[in-house]
């Protein structure tokens, strides 16, 4: 009997897949294991202990950086998602016109610009504003994060709107729904999973950012990633592993939560 064609049976597919998974997850597993090291190095395992978790927990600078990260990321992700939703609606719920494709590319383009270029550009502009206004707070960091988060939130929302049947919104309008009611009762409920996905993507990208944050932050405005980067320049202790592991646990928890939230809606 002829076997059904499957790309998996091609030579090399399984080995390459296994290699990729190993590359991705083996280092993470190693990192997690060494977070529980009782010794002081990240090279040799000297028994199991939670001491580095305790150290991290009692380190005020870690706590402070974490709080800053968890302040900037949700605000940036929220504002970016709202802006991205509006942009996605404006570029899909309109009759096609000259320049529309250009506008969409214009919104997506920041994804293609090297982050370092954005960082330098923002640094130049913000330093002028700092001179004029004298304001040195966390607003710059939030503004920068909003800016680079928008295209990430825009992608899934626009993709969903493009495949969403336009006749549903037509039907609602036909049944006496004003444009606002069409959005509230039909577009938004159907778009919700994509908005959630956009928000998550923006949240993770913001939480993770090093390059732009490193350029923009004023003195003492460390986020968790920039703090960790700073620590690496000194001695590396399993405290870093412990912080990363907690980070990992948090993101797994967030992803799981959102997964079930969006599942319930369907």
């Amino acid at each position: 009997m002829a076997r059904r064609y499957s790309v998996r049976r091609q030579r090399g597919f399984t080995s390459i897949a296994l290699l990729c998974f190993a590359l991705l997850y083996l280092p993470i597993a190693t990192m997690v294991v060494f977070a529980f090291n009782a010794g002081t190095t990240v090279g040799a395992l000297e028994g199991v202990s939670l001491r580095w978790f305790a150290t991290a927990w009692n380190n005020d600078r870690v706590i402070e950086a974490t709080i800053r990260s968890l302040t900037v990321a949700p605000i940036a992700a929220l504002v970016a998602t709202v802006a991205a939703t509006m942009a996605a609606l404006a570029t899909t719920r309109t009759a096609s016109y000259r320049g529309l494709a250009f506008k969409v590319a214009f919104i997506n383009q920041p994804l293609m610009v090297p982050e370092i270029v954005t960082a330098v550009a923002l640094l130049v502009v913000f330093s002028r504003i700092k001179v004029w206004t004298g304001y040195t707070g966390i607003g710059y960091l939030i503004a920068a994060h909003i800016a680079f988060c928008i295209p990430f939130a825009f992608l899934p929302i626009r993709a969903r709107l493009e495949t969403m049947d336009l006749s549903l919104e037509r039907a609602a309008a036909d049944l006496y729904a004003t444009p606002w009611m069409v959005f509230r009762r039909v577009t938004f409920p159907l778009l919700w999973p994509a908005i959630l996905a956009g928000f998550m993507l923006a949240f993770v990208v913001s939480l993770d950012d090093v390059v732009i944050t490193e350029f923009i932050k004023s003195a003492g405005q460390e986020t968790l990633p920039t703090y960790m980067l700073g620590q690496l320049r000194r001695t590396v202790t399993p405290e870093m592993n412990a912080i990363s592991t907690m980070f990992l646990a948090l993101s797994i928890a967030v992803v799981t939560l959102f997964f079930f939230l969006s599942r319930k809606k369907d």
């Binding site: 049947d165 006749s167 549903l168 037509r170 039907a171 609602a172 309008a173 036909d174 049944l175 006496y176 729904a177 004003t178 009611m181 009762r185 039909v186 409920p189 159907l190 809606k265």
Partner: protein, 361 residues
């Protein structure tokens, strides 16, 4: 203005897409109250565009659209007391059947109790009482169709628009829904405007039909008029099957003419006012209005019987006429068979004066 008789009055409506494409070109139509009116034409003829203009999803480039005497051409869809049944139904997937049906009334701000009562009434009307709490994604095609109808009828619109609503259903279900639609129209007394490219559907359901092509209205009339007295060749060809004969008028009287066919034979044909009264003309003969015989009696047309196609209820006889044209005759089957009618036989084709009609050029 006298007592308003028409539900929808379309006056000289033109719709351009971009600068070049004319989807509708000076269309005027008057659709009466409580009428089952069908817009019939091939795809791209402008029938769906016209429906969208009435619904308010598009706005005319020129011309006016009146609903019960009031100009609505520039109103947004949510301000028109007109509802639509969409081709793909467009049911809200995140709502139950009942919520879908109640949506229009809810948007109109009707009290909850009234909405619930009306939804019940609608579910009964479309015979879906048992499925009110189902998500629309869990319904079959025919059931979705019924919910879509109920949803559009629930707010009691002045006009119901139906955009090829039966095209996604299989043959049997489509037949069933045709009867169902007709029943709903009679029971509710609402004006239905039905868009289709299916001529059979149009003939069986409509009070009147408008045949469209290339953004223009070619003919408006009841199904009998459209079928029996098509104005021009396009209408004759699009609705049902037709044989066309070319000839030249020799003598024309008030409503008939003697025409000399290409074969040299003379026949009598009906001559409508709109057709040319002299010169070269085209004549239509429906396949079921002509007969074929092989007994050699004199007949206006003769030729060779090329093929015999059996259809169960009837048989199609394809005749190659002496001067080259093809002519199809449909005869109803009976247990008695004409043994002389075999492929290759020399046959004569004959028809009544009433069966032949001269067309507008």
């Amino acid at each position: 203005m006298p007592e308003e008789k028409s539900a929808i009055e379309i006056c000289d409506v033109t719709k351009l897409f971009g600068d070049a494409f004319k989807a509708l070109d000076g269309v005027s139509l008057s659709i009466r109250k409580n009428e089952f009116f069908t817009l019939l034409g091939p795809s791209g003829c402008g029938k769906t565009t016209l429906l969208r203009l009435i619904a308010g999803f598009e706005y005319p480039t020129a011309g006016t659209i009146q609903l019960h005497g009031k100009d609505i051409a520039t109103l947004p869809p949510y301000q028109r007391p007109i509802n639509t049944v969409f081709q793909n139904y467009a049911l809200f997937p995140h709502m139950t059947a009942s919520q879908n049906i109640g949506f229009g009334l809810e948007m109109l701000g009707r009290p909850k109790a009234e909405i619930a009562a009306r939804v019940d009434e609608m579910l009964r009307l479309v015979r879906m009482e048992g499925l009110r709490h189902r998500r629309t994604t869990e319904l079959s095609g025919g059931q979705q169709q019924r919910v879509a109808l109920a949803r559009a009828l629930a707010p009691t619109p002045k006009v119901l628009l139906l955009d090829e609503p039966l095209s996604a259903l299989d043959y049997k279900l489509r037949k069933e829904m045709q009867i169902e639609l007709k029943r709903l129209q009679l029971e509710t007394g609402i004006t239905f405007i039905f868009v289709t490219h299916d001529q059979e559907e149009a003939l069986t359901m409509s009070d009147r039909i408008a045949v469209l092509s290339g953004g223009r209205v070619l003919q408006v009339g009841n199904p009998r008029e459209i079928y029996d007295c098509p104005g021009d060749r396009f209408v004759a060809d699009f609705i049902g099957e037709a044989n066309f004969l070319s000839g030249e008028i020799i003598v024309a009287t008030k409503d008939r003419a003697q025409v000399r066919l290409a074969s040299g034979a003379d026949i009598l044909a009906r001559l409508p006012d709109t057709a040319p009264q002299q010169g070269k003309v085209t004549i239509i003969v429906r396949p079921e209005h002509a007969e074929v015989h092989a007994d050699g009696r004199p007949s206006p047309l003769s030729g060779t019987l090329e093929s015999i196609v059996y259809f169960g209820t009837d048989t199609h006889l394809h005749v190659r006429l002496a001067h080259g044209d093809r002519f199809v005759v449909r005869r109803q089957n009976s247990p008695l068979q004409d043994a002389a009618l075999v492929a290759g036989a020399t046959v004569g084709v004959a028809f009544d004066l009433a069966a032949a009609q001269i067309l507008r050029n």
